[in-house]
């Protein structure tokens, strides 16, 4: 009886621990088609849960100057994507903290998770930019970021 209790306690703890890790940050099932079409033509479709509401709001209101490029949208699409991002933005404190420059890569959790990556690695042709999650996280597009699914390009 006691073993059962311990086992279920362990299982419960494991379940609780799961969402606490960024190892899995899946795309919500109700993503509008425009999110993939508009945002993911230049970069991976980032899961909205990786940034706060305020960050997404900033990003969506400045698309004509989007990290050095013009990513402007028609009004209808802009509203559709903004509303969906706001609805699905980060809620847990760790991810909901305001990201400097509205960059996922400038959040405290991102920098801590990647602090062992040397500057030279980020510059490799196969990586190009910290924005290119899928360069190393082979299943990033599926929202899987755990350490078993990492392959860092040699060049």
């Amino acid at each position: 009886m006691k073993t059962y209790f311990l086992l279920s306690l362990l299982a419960l703890l494991a379940l609780l621990a799961l969402p606490a890790s960024a190892a899995r940050m899946a795309m919500p099932a109700d993503a509008p088609k425009s999110y993939e079409a508009e945002c993911a033509s230049c970069h991976m479709a980032y899961p909205p849960g990786l940034l706060s509401q305020k960050n997404w709001q900033n990003i969506m209101s400045g698309l004509d100057k989007h990290f050095g490029t013009d990513a402007s949208l028609d009004a209808k699409t802009q509203t559709e994507i903004t509303q969906w991002l706001m609805k699905n933005a980060a809620t847990r404190e760790k991810y909901a903290a305001f990201a400097p420059e509205n960059r996922i890569t400038k959040t405290a959790w991102f920098m801590r998770k990647h602090d062992e990556i040397r500057a030279e690695v980020w510059k490799r042709a196969g990586v190009k930019s910290p924005a290119n999650c899928a360069a190393c996280h082979t299943d990033a597009v599926k929202g899987i970021f755990n350490e078993d699914n990492i392959r860092i390009p040699a060049k």
Binding site: C42, D70, A71, S72, K128, A131
Partner: protein, 127 residues
Amino acid sequence: MQKKIVLVLALLSLIGVSVAASPQDLLKGYESQSGKASQARGEQLFNAKHGKEWSCASCHETPPNHDTKHIVTGKLIKSLSPNSNPDRFTDQAKVEKWFKRNCNDVLGRECVAQEKADVLSWLLTVK
């Protein structure tokens, strides 16, 4: 007749309807708003920098007849020339959206119809 088609296409694109077109239709449309296209001018515009960090070729490479990668993010960009990718220049709203974005990035302003005609006419010669 040609003018009428162009007008209808323009109106449809204004109300946001996705219009299936051929690259040749689009080229005629741009020429009708400006003048005859020049492939040489188009090639020059595509490959040169215009006072900013990037040229069109920074991401699309040259000749743009193969899949490439975004110069910053590394994201795959499908081949640009219609001969190498039949999906290109078949949706007017999409074409207009990308001309607007990319001309702003490369020239710091939107392109005029003549420039779009020139670039498209050159792209149509890229095998």
